[in-house]
Structure formats: C-alpha cells, structure tokens
C-alpha cells in the first residue's frame, strides 16, 4: 500500500494544494482513506495529520472507513423522493439485509444517502463507484445487486439493467440530456469552434472586456454579478499571475443545466474560458467539476487534448504570439458549499471548503492568493456568443435588466422535464404550458435557496429583477405535501451541507427544522408559526456566506405564500402543546435497571 500511495503523492509533486486529487485517488483505490495513508500524506506534504483529516472529514465522498467495493450513493433530493425513491431504498435494504448508510458484512456493497446529484429530470438516480444510474426501480435494484455480486464492472452493470447508453465512447452513460428547447445563445446550430476566440485575439484584451461589459451579461451561477465588470476588477488588481476558474460545482438541488452544457458543448465552454484568459491575462484556467460529474472526466480531458491539437489551447494560441493558456480540471468531493466561490477556491487548494471572509474578493485575492475570476459554466459559454455576434445582438434578447437567454433545468411534476433555453422574462404560466405541468400547487424557483410561489404569482417572469434563478425550476403538483416533501427536505439539505463556521448557520437551521417537525407532528400552535417566521429572518444578516443567508428561505417563503398549510397543521386554539410522552421516555431506563415503570401520576 505504501508504495501506491507514494506514487500518487509523487504524481502530484508533493504539492499541498493538490491534496484533493491525492485523496480522491486513494479513496478510489481503497474505498476509504486508511489511517496509514493519512500519516504518509502528512509526512510527505509537510503538513500535520490533522490538516489531512480535516480535509477528509469535510467532504461527503472521503471516508475514514470503507464504503464498500461497490459504493452506492442514492440521491436524496426532494424530487427523487416524489419520483419513488422510497421503493428503491426498500429494495436495496431488503435485498442486502442492511439499513441505509451501512456496508454489507463482506464489505462488498455499501448503500448511502447523498445530496442532489444533478439528475432531477431522471430520478431516482444513484452513483455507483462514480457512474450514474438513472430512473431506478426496485426491479432494477435487484438486477444491479445480482450484477455487483457477480463482480461486474460498471459498463456491464449498466447493461444488466438494459440501459440505453448515450454519448461518445469515452462518455458511455445512461444520463439523458433532455434538451427540450434550444435557444439563440446556447444550443444554437450556428456555433463554430474557435471562431470567437480568433475574433477576440484580433482585438485588445480591454476591448474584449468592454464588449462583455456592454452586453450586460450577468453571472448565471445565481448571484447575477455583471461578468464584464468582474473581469475589469480583476484586470485592475494588476496581478502578475491571475486565474480563470469555471464553477462547475452545480450543487443547487434541481439544477442540471451545466451538466448538459458540459456533455454537449464542452468546446464552447473551454473557448469561453480561453477568451476570459485572454481578457484578464491569465495563463491557467481551472474547471472545478463536482465529483458527481466525475463520469465525464475522461471525456472532457479528451476534448481539452483535441483543442490543444487545434492550437486553441496551449502556447501561442491561434497563432497569437505570447498568448498562452491551458486548462485543467479539478474534481470536488461532494460538498454543496464548495459552489460558493471562495469555498471553491479553498477546496482547489486542498483545504476544507469553508467560505472566506469577503473582502478581499477573489478578483483581488483568489486562488493561491492571486487575482481570480470565478464564473459559472453558462456565463463563460455566453461570452463566446457575445464575442461572435456582438453586445447589441446579445442585448436584443431578454429584458432590460437581464439580457440574453437563460438555461432552465426544469423538473418535478411536469410531463417533459429537462433543459429549456428561454429568453429572460418568460412567465411561469408559459413554462407550465411548454413543459406540460398541470395542477400545480407551487413552483420552487432557484432551488431550495430560492423562493416558493403559488398560483397567484404564476404571471411573474424569470429575470434578475423578478424571479431570479441560477437555473432550477421545480413544479410541485397539488397532490404533494409541500411542507413535508419539500420544505423539510430542503432544511435537512442545508443542515447537512452547512460548513459549520457560523454559529447561527450551524444551530439556527436545526432549531428551525425541529420547530417545523413539531408543527408537522401536530404539536404546533399558532405562536410557533410566528416564531418560525421571525427567527428564519435572522439568518440573512448574521451568516458569512450565501448558504447560511438563504437557508431559511424554504420556511420564509412558504409561510409568506402558503401560511394556510401551516395553520391547517397547528392547534389554533391552544397556547401550548407538548409532544412529551412519559411512558415512552422512561421505558428504556426502567428496562435496563429492571423495574416497573410507575406511571400512576
């Protein structure tokens, strides 16, 4: 073992900043990070064992105990649950004779919960040793288990359940892209590889930044910061060494548009990164790819190689003397908060993904403390079309505050879940007609951290100035239990994913979730609703990053728009209800000491 670990460490030049890559390799080899490996890594990288361990324990896909030769990670998102996850869980547990979140005694198969894996349009879905299995049923689970017991590899396992495999050879996958509506900016047939990059290098970097500024292109990752301005700030930092980072962490439950771009249009993305590199003077670009999308890694690497061969990456790109730029892919290891740009940078440096204090902003002090532009996948792709067609053309789409088009990942209760490229401003009603969503009780926009609205607001439009979204739209039909199936699931998600730095994020969300449970269990009173609402509003101003600032949104926005659902559950005429039950509370202790419970009083 020592030797293989040594080799891994050498492969990454004993670079402390590559700890993530080292750990990913070792986890894959041993299905966990053995204690001995921790010592060797610490020793070789010149850091303490605690440094290694704190990184390991931060990420969902690093473990200190084995997760099984076949590690099954079943998505636990709200949409997975309404699409029949319980049946799949049951099938796994029955067939294997173990509860979820444990490993069979022979160490062969482990079954684990995991947060949204970006497959909301084909749930229930799971990752098995990094390969995605979609549209699972109890029947398929049985076949998969037989296959795993027979020692089949991933390709064979997919065949066991008769999966229709899509994509080029390096990307044989069950994952469907479900592009339902193409748009002028993305998925237009007009894209020609390298055209925009050649246009860009015929202009000065400042002219490129100005063109992007003029287009009013705003970040597509959620926050909507103007891309051109961000690039300008980075230029103003005047760093010798600067970086372009593409945020492909796509962790917001219900979002999967970056996945589709990465599979369908990787060249468009890499070209966008090269243009950004030219504009800000970077030599290195890094794609931070969420671990859940690891199945694309080889394929993406091959595309990068192709672009190098076309001289669209590498040295003196497209014949422009002195324009050197290349891209590497950095895998994450399962942590939603790493989508936050400063946490992402920490993670790229091999640390726990804890957000940094801002300022300084990444454009001042980013990756390796150098000025860094972090942009979403879709933002960087849009840049290519801005350069090709010009800012005016781009602005002719959308609304005044939100120019261009937007990729929406639509899922939940509708006939045609998938990807829709729409112009900003499109109304919810229109989306419902296009996707075949009927009897809609609520729409969750922007994922759990966004807002939940009811039918009286379906005439509102998707735009930064109205309903802002990084891309997730989830339709929720009337038959669903909005509070239990969605709000509770979302709160559990945030509790699980909080990095734990800020007290209020770490504790208040648990308190809110428990109060919600109290109401769901029928033990709430009206005062509980008012307190929930009041307390939920606190997180926005006292937490460091967007996670903690928006974690209570599921509760806040459903109390605002669906208060009657809460009122139906609470005991309106009582001032207090206790869920305490003496009989069950004393049962165990009486049994252990060997006495009869005395419940007479």
């Amino acid at each position: 073992m020592k030797e293989t670990i040594q080799n891994v460490i050498e492969k990454y030049n004993r670079d402390r900043n590559r700890l993530m890559d080292i750990l990913i390799a070792i986890q894959n080899m041993h299905q966990h990070i053995p204690e001995d490996a921790v010592s060797i890594i610490a020793d070789q990288l010149g850091i303490s064992k605690v440094d290694v361990k704190q990184t390991i324990t931060f990420y969902h896909f690093f473990t200190l105990t084995p997760v099984g030769e076949y590690a099954v990670y079943l998505n636990d998102s709200a949409v997975a649950n309404i699409k029949g996850r319980a049946e799949v869980v049951q099938a796994f547990e029955d067939e294997l004779g173990i509860p979820f979140n444990s490993v069979t005694t022979d160490g062969l198969i482990g079954i684990w919960d995991t947060a949204d894996i970006g497959m909301n349009d084909q749930e229930p879905a799971a990752l098995i040793n990094g390969t995605v299995f979609t549209n699972l049923t109890s029947e398929k689970v049985k076949s998969l288990i037989t296959g795993m017991r027979a020692g089949k590899d991933m390709l064979e396992l997919m065949r066991v359940i008769d999966a229709e495999l899509d994509g080029p050879e390096l990307l044989s996958t069950m994952v469907k892209n479900n592009i339902r509506q193409k748009g002028a900016v993305l998925f237009s047939d007009a894209y020609e590889v390298g055209y925009a990059l050649r246009q860009a290098i015929n202009r000065t970097p400042v002219e490129v930044v100005d063109e992007v500024k003029r287009s009013n292109l705003r970040g597509r990752g959620g926050a909507g910061f103007p891309a051109g301005l961000k690039w300008d700030f980075c230029r103003q930092s005047r760093g010798e060494e600067v970086y372009v980072v593409c945020n492909a962490d796509e962790g917001e439950p219900g979002t999967f548009k970056d996945r589709v771009i990465l599979t369908e249009l990787p060249k468009l993305l890499f070209e966008g990164m090269a243009i950004a590199g030219y504009a800000i003077g970077a030599k290195q670009g890094i794609v931070y790819l969420r671990y859940e999308y690891r199945y694309m890694l080889e394929y993406l690497e091959s595309i990068l190689q192709e672009l190098r061969e076309l001289n669209l990456l590498g040295k003196n790109i497209a014949g422009k003397a002195g324009f050197d730029f290349d891209i590497r892919i950095q895998l994450g290891a399962g942590a939603y908060v790493c989508g936050e740009e400063t946490a992402l940078i920490e993670s790229m440096e091999g640390k726990r993904g804890e957000p940094r204090n801002r300022p300084p902003f990444p454009v001042q002090t980013g990756y390796l403390n150098k000025p860094t532009v972090v942009n979403n996948v879709e933002t960087l792709c849009s840049v290519v079309q801005v350069i090709t067609e010009g800012a005016e053309w781009f602005k002719s789409f959308g609304t005044s505050d939100s120019s261009g088009t937007k990729l929406l990942s639509i899922s939940g209760d509708c006939k045609n879940p998938g990807i829709y490229a729409v112009e900003w401003g499109v109304t919810i009603q229109k989306l419902m007609r296009r996707t075949g969503a009927n009897n809609v009780q609520a729409v969750q926009i922007g994922g759990p951290s966004g807002i939940c609205i009811g039918p009286d607001q379906f005439d509102r439009g998707i735009a930064f100035e109205d309903l802002a979204t990084g891309g997730s739209v989830i339709f929720i039909s009337e038959e669903r239990d909005l509070l239990k199936d969605f709000v509770l699931n979302f709160m559990n998600f945030f509790i699980e994913e909080s990095c734990g730095s800020c007290g209020p994020c770490r504790s208040l969300n648990v308190i809110l979730r428990n109060k919600l449970l109290k109401i769901l269990d029928g033990n709430g009173v009206e005062q509980d609703i008012d307190e929930l609402y009041k307390w939920a509003g606190v997180g926005r101003s006292v937490n460091r990053c967007g996670l903690g600032q928006t974690a209570a949104n599921p509760i806040l926005t459903t109390i605002e728009n669906f208060r009657h659902l809460y009122e139906d559950l609470v005991q309106m005429n009582e001032s207090f209800v206790s869920a305490f039950d003496m009989e069950s509370a004393v049962a165990e202790s009486c049994e252990v000491v060997g006495r009869e419970p005395n419940l007479s009083r």
Partner: protein
C-alpha cells in the same frame, strides 16, 4: 401594592443559576421588599402553599420527578421563566443525549473507572426513585415557558433586572454587559 409571590426550583441543573441569583448580594434585602418567596430552596419551602406570580426554573428535565415538579410549577405560577442554559437547551446534562441510556447507566454503575465493587451488577432500581428519561429535555418542550434568561449562569444583574421588570411591569433593562457571554 401587595407583594408578588416568587417560587424557584433546580431541576437537572447544578445550582449554579441559584448561586448566581444570590450574587445580587445586598439587593436581596430590596428583593424581599418586592416579593414574597414560596416554594424555593432559598427559604426551603418544599411544597406550594400559595398560588404564585413568578416561577424561576433552573435546569432541564432528566427524570420523571423533574417533569412532575415542572408541571406543578406551571400549575401554580402565572409566569414561568427558564433561567440558564440547562433550562433553555438542556445544557451540560444534555451531553448524554447522543448516548443510549443503557450505555450511560452501565458506565455510571458497572464499568466506569470510579465504580467500586459491584459484583452483583446492581443498578439503582428502587421504586421510590425517579425514573430516568430517554434524554434531557429543555423545559419549553414540556410546558409553556413565558420568558428565557440565557447564560451559564445568567449574570446576577440579568436575573435582578428581569425580576424587577416582571414585578414592576417596567421594561427590562438589557445593557450589553449583562447579556454578553465571554
């Protein structure tokens, strides 16, 4: 104005909150001008002899007796106040909440390093004893609590200010020094 009647108790607490209460020092003389004590360790009245205006609760609920006492307090006091971390959140005793009750009892009576000879492996099981609960509960999960005074222990000034406000009906004074915890 007739005096308000005050009761206090320590449930699963360490008596630190009561000690902090006594830290009001000579103001206790002012206090007895304002209130009359009923059931409380301070005057050692063991059962309620009157209906009370204010009940101060230290500690959460770890056994059946705590529950009974707390319910008694709710019955006899117009206003109930959770005083200190243990009453509000379970506090230190609630550290056992992540451990099974079986493991706790075995550690305390059979396996712990300070256990002497216990060859018969006896654990306290006299029917007179209170029964342990599966976990330590904060008071507001058992009965309605009207006010919460945070701290471990809350400062004497906070307890004092709160009592004066409750008795006089004036607004509670909460200067920063009184609620800062470190």
């Amino acid at each position: 104005m007739s005096k308000k009647i005050l009761a206090t108790t320590s449930l699963a607490g360490c008596f630190g909150c009561h000690m902090s209460f006594l830290d009001i020092d000579e103001r206790i003389l002012e206090l007895i001008e304002l209130v009359e004590f009923n059931k409380s360790p301070i005057d050692d009245i063991k059962t309620f002899t009157k209906e009370c205006d204010i009940g101060l609760i230290e500690g959460g609920c770890c056994n059946s007796e705590n529950i009974e006492v707390l319910k008694e307090f709710r019955k006899h006091c117009k206003i109930l106040v959770s005083v200190g971390e243990c009453a509000i959140m379970g506090g230190l005793p609630a550290l056992r909440n992540g451990i099974s009750i079986k493991e706790c009892l075995e550690e305390a009576y059979l396996n712990g390093p300070t256990v002497g000879e216990n060859t018969e492996k006896i654990m306290p099981n006299d029917p007179e004893l209170p029964m342990l609960l599966d976990k330590v509960y904060p008071c507001h999960e058992i009965v309605k609590i009207d006010y919460f005074l945070p701290g471990c222990a809350p400062r004497a000034d906070l307890i004092w200010n709160a009592l004066v406000a409750l008795v006089t009906g004036n607004e509670l004074e909460l200067p920063y020094e009184v609620v800062k915890f470190d």
